[in-house]
Amino acid sequence: MIKIPTRVLLVDDEVDFVEMLSLRLNEVGERVTPAYSGRECLEILGQKSIDVVILDIRMPGMDGIETLREIKKRFPLVEVMMLTGHGTTETAVEGMKLGAFDYLMKPADFDELRLKLENARKRKDEQEERIRKAEARLLLRKSGDI
């Protein structure tokens, strides 16, 4: 089976971390865009198609939760995976209540990360599929009226 790359936006102020995880995810066939702040993340989402955002909770300036709210407001179909470097599972759970797909604790297990990425992508695909079908039905009904 040919792997369809998940378009990942990796957001963390830890430059080295972003760099290494990007290399690794790209190597296994994903397509990663790096971002180093919440603001940059939102900018990129405005320009590029992204499936899943991997979002660090603790960042200077706009933090993960704030960024998440903004993502869900402006790009509701994009799935978000929270990444917590400081054990605040509560914040991650709060994030999930705000619409994040799941969370991972740093340092995250790579296989677990990939699995969750896959699932997040699947959820987005299914949602988009449903939207397409609904649109098709809408179109059909409209044309049926004629």
Partner: protein, 402 residues
């Protein structure tokens, strides 16, 4: 020692028997019953058998003089006060005596009332000194406990801060090692001569990161704030589920795990996830400490206002010198890499938050028994790290938790 003057223990030392008997009769009329001795060595022998509060002693005695005896008394019984009796013409003896530690001296012929009041004063001094000593001991003990609590609290704060900060670089190390591992799998590197060595080293890095991660996550688990996870908990069910988690490991080692529930164990209002963590920590320790053929028993017993949970194993037991440390952070007797030394520390922290407490009973070779008390219902207070440390502080001070 009593503070009633009638109970003053007195010893009268004089080589003149008549003088002694006369004085003792007069003491007797005042309700005092002094011991007596005719010379220095006899006096020391009496003291050795039963120390007294006040010694009234003649300075001029054949053999050992009063001053010599005084020095011996002060050396061996610093709390005993000595009143010297000197001859009329030898006040110098009295002065020397005071310099050597006598309470005071009286010149013969003595006035009995005067002697009595001196004895009274000497006794008051003894009481004052004893009080001061007790106070100093108490202060030293409290200060020591405070220092230990503060050390633990600041150690905890520091450790958590470090754990926070270390997770990020750990993630970088893990990703870098993971990246290299992936690179080595590339086709063009399949003939790379040092590949095996690289893979070995990378595996070691992964393992090291795992180990460090366990530590940081457990530390953070210790201060993890509590959400509204409180709910009705069915303890027998929770115990059963948790036992299942370690059952396989126990079976592999040939250890039987048994759950005994004394009916009726009512549901308690608590946090099931944290309780599971507590039980899991205790069970894992028990499995690690128990050898093939041993057994682990989990017991649940209803109490008036809660439940007692007991985990007993037939393992190696805990040596006495370790019993006081097993709840300290980073205290571990397992091999490096196997234990983080945080399990019981975290367990106690969690129980403090749940309004319970834990005790251990063990001796070497006799297995160990951990008893956990859980309240029927606990309303969590303000969740904060400070709360945990306050609890630890209380535990150190030996207070019972609410």
């Amino acid at each position: 020692m009593s503070d009633k003057k009638d109970d003053i223990k007195l010893l009268l030392v004089d080589d003149e028997s008549d003088f002694r008997q006369a004085l003792i009769r007069r003491f007797g009329r005042r309700g005092l019953n002094p011991e007596q001795a005719g010379n220095g060595p006899e006096c020391l022998a009496v003291l050795a058998a039963r120390p007294v509060d006040v010694v009234v002693m003649d300075v001029k005695m054949p053999g050992m003089t009063g001053i010599e005896v005084l020095a011996r008394i002060k050396e061996k019984y610093p709390c005993t006060e000595v009143i010297l009796l000197t001859g009329h013409a030898s006040t110098q003896d009295g002065v020397d005596g005071i310099k050597s530690g006598a309470f005071d001296y009286l010149t013969k012929p003595i006035e009995f009332e005067h002697l009595l009041s001196k004895i009274g004063q000497a006794y008051e001094k003894i009481l004052r000194e004893a009080e001061k000593l007790k106070e100093a001991e108490f202060r030293a003990k409290v200060e020591q406990q405070m220092a230990a609590a503060e050390r633990l609290a600041s150690l905890g704060t520091l450790a958590v801060g470090i754990a926070h900060e270390i997770n990020n670089p750990l993630a970088i190390i893990r990703e870098s090692a993971g990246w290299l591992t992936l690179l080595l799998k590339r086709k063009e590197l399949s003939d790379f001569p040092g590949r095996k060595d690289f893979e070995l080293a990378l595996e070691k890095i992964e393992k090291g990161v795992d180990r460090a991660k366990r530590i940081t996550h457990q530390l953070l688990g210790f201060v993890r704030k509590q959400g509204s996870a409180f709910t009705q908990v069915n303890l027998p069910e929770l115990a059963d589920e948790t036992i299942e988690l370690v059952r396989k490991e126990a079976l592999d080692k040939g250890i039987a795990v048994e759950l005994k529930v004394e009916d009726p164990v009512a549901g308690i209002w608590s946090d099931p996830y944290q309780l599971r963590q507590v039980l899991l920590n205790l069970l894992t320790n028990a499995v690690h400490a128990t050898a093939k053929g041993g057994s682990i028993t989990v017991m649940l017993r209803p109490l008036k206002e809660g439940v007692q949970l007991t985990v007993r194993d037939t393992g190696t037991g805990i040596p006495r010198e370790n019993l006081g440390h097993i709840f300290d952070p980073f205290f571990s007797t397992k091999n490096p890499g196997e234990g983080t030394g945080l399990g019981l520390f975290v367990t106690r922290g969690i129980l403090g938050r749940l309004g319970g407490h834990i005790e251990v009973e063990s001796s070497l070779g006799q297995g160990a028994t951990f008893r956990v008390w859980l309240p029927q219902r606990h309303e969590p207070g303000i969740d904060s790290v400070q709360d945990d440390y306050a609890n630890i502080l209380k535990q150190i001070k030996g207070e019972q938790l609410p």
